[in-house]
Amino acid sequence: MVLEEIVTIFFGIFTDYTLRYVALGSAILGITSGALGCFTVLRKQSLFGDALSHAALPGIGIAYLFAGTKDSLFLMLGAAVFAWFGGIVTLGITSTTRIKQDAALGITLSVFFGLGIVLLTYLQSTGGASQGGLDRFLFGQAAALIETDVLNLGILAAGCFVVLIVFFKEFKIATFDSAFGQSLGFPTRYLSALLTSVIVVAVVIGLHTVGVVLMVSMLITPAAAARQWISSLKNMLILSAIFGGISGVVGSMISSTTEGMSTGPIIVITITTILGISLMFSPKQGYLFQYIRKKRQYQNNSKTISSISKETNPRS
């Protein structure tokens, strides 16, 4: 019964027109944020993505206010500008005051989000029904994706990957040893800015499918899961992208079966489950294998001890 349902949903990707775009859009998000999220995790900026995605919300409101259209490209542009601005404000607070990064992130995300809510409610009170659907960016509504949206998302994601492939070596150095990079003459400041820009693009893609609130999970969790299996950056990026893509497709399919279900929460639960499995079962570091290894070690140790004690004390 359940299996049959799963199979029907799965083949729905090939037959159902809407579901195909929903799954495709979510997969694009998962792959992009999965790959780029590795950098935020490795650079110890995990929660930076949280601030960026919340900061994007007023951008959507302002873009709609000025452009007057719900064309996803305009909204994404507004979102990207504000996400960037939020990032700059966060860095500005930490570099010019004694406020630490965590509080600076908290300030950015809550104030920008508040401003976003103000703008959305302003549009609601002035624009009548026409603004409806802007609040789907809170939790994401992949079901609302149409062909042009998916095309836009795909182009943006492709742009991210081109930048990522071209500057892979530079990003790697800027991530792991930026002082070394600087000594080699790499413009590490500009590289960091570029890396932040592609992460902003990933965040903006995510607004459609997971929404501003849960976006942080799409950046961190696939990367954290991939990190449990692999330690080379390149392979980690690939695995993280795969994890992200899988959770995007699975999450959007599950949510498409239920009326009015936001996609974001389901995708987040899927990817966190993948992380849980990775933490348990990864061969090198997983709890399970660690437990087995410890037990074996303990048995070996006790064998050795008993054999030693027999040698030294043959009568017992």
Partner: protein, 365 residues
Amino acid sequence: MSADLIIIGTAMLVAANCASIGAFLVLRQMAMMSDAISHAVLLGIVIAVFVVGGRETVPVIVGGVLSGILTVSLVELLYRTGRLKKDSSIGIVFPFLFAIGVILVTQAGNVHIDAQHVLYGSIEFVPFDTLYVDEINIGSKSLWVLGILAIANISFIAILYKELKISTFDASLAVSVGMMPVLIHYLLMIMVATTAVVAFESVGAILVIAFFIVPAAGAYLLTDRLSRMIVLSVGLGIISAITGYMLAILADVSIAGSMATMAGVVFGLIWVFAPNRGLISRWRRISKQRFEIDVGIMLTHVKDKIELHHQVTPLSISSALGWTFEYSKKICEFALERKLAGKDDLGNLSLTESGRKKAEHYTAN
């Protein structure tokens, strides 16, 4: 009591409750932990509503606090394995718990919580929720609950003030004098969760964070004393609440959203104008320091040139040091005024005794 007054009173109490606890969160660098807790309380609230079958205050608070503690423990558990960084663990745990909460809310029709109001609350409806004792209306429920919470928070801070202070600023000292900072940590987290769950009902998850962090961060730029910081933080929170309410009424927008926006505006003003720590005074200090250093460079330059029997004028200084002529003239005039340098009739500079000493002092360092 009029509806407006009840809303403003609720907002002020939320601001005061969050901002006082928030001072410790900012100082202990746990701001993002409060972010996590204020999201995760949703799960506890929803489960409590499921179990009890209604939005009774006490079960909701208990559920919220339990899920807050669950969040903190899960984050620590993940982080202690050594395989995830602390901020990554926070960013993994709270979206997960929040996502479960959101799904439960959207899928269960009888919870009466709107998914969006989870984020930005429904303070507009607070006046309709009144409390009855023996069927006598004793006023707004939110004012009572928040008032009791305020008393709890004030007594928490007052009773454990010394312990909180020492464990915040010097955890190892706290251990060595037997203050159990871990216990303090968890008590603080319980207070954060309680405050978050109570405030959550009226202003929503994100704006709880605004009131926890933003006023406290502003106060942190204004003072160095913990006690003053707490008072200032509460004051800034209340100012943001009142101005935010006025903005919301004027522009007909979300009350909670405009309160967070005003909190940001207040913080922005402090960031720019704060005495000693603001951007303006920082810029002034830096340019003053730069000027003083440049005076030193000028004096050293003049000393070197005089030892070589060269003539030095503001013009030669500007070409030698790459300054504009105006700037080198300004610096020379400053040096003349302070009697660090002298000038002959042709405009050539010389050093006075104190100027020579100063130049030697600079070269010695």
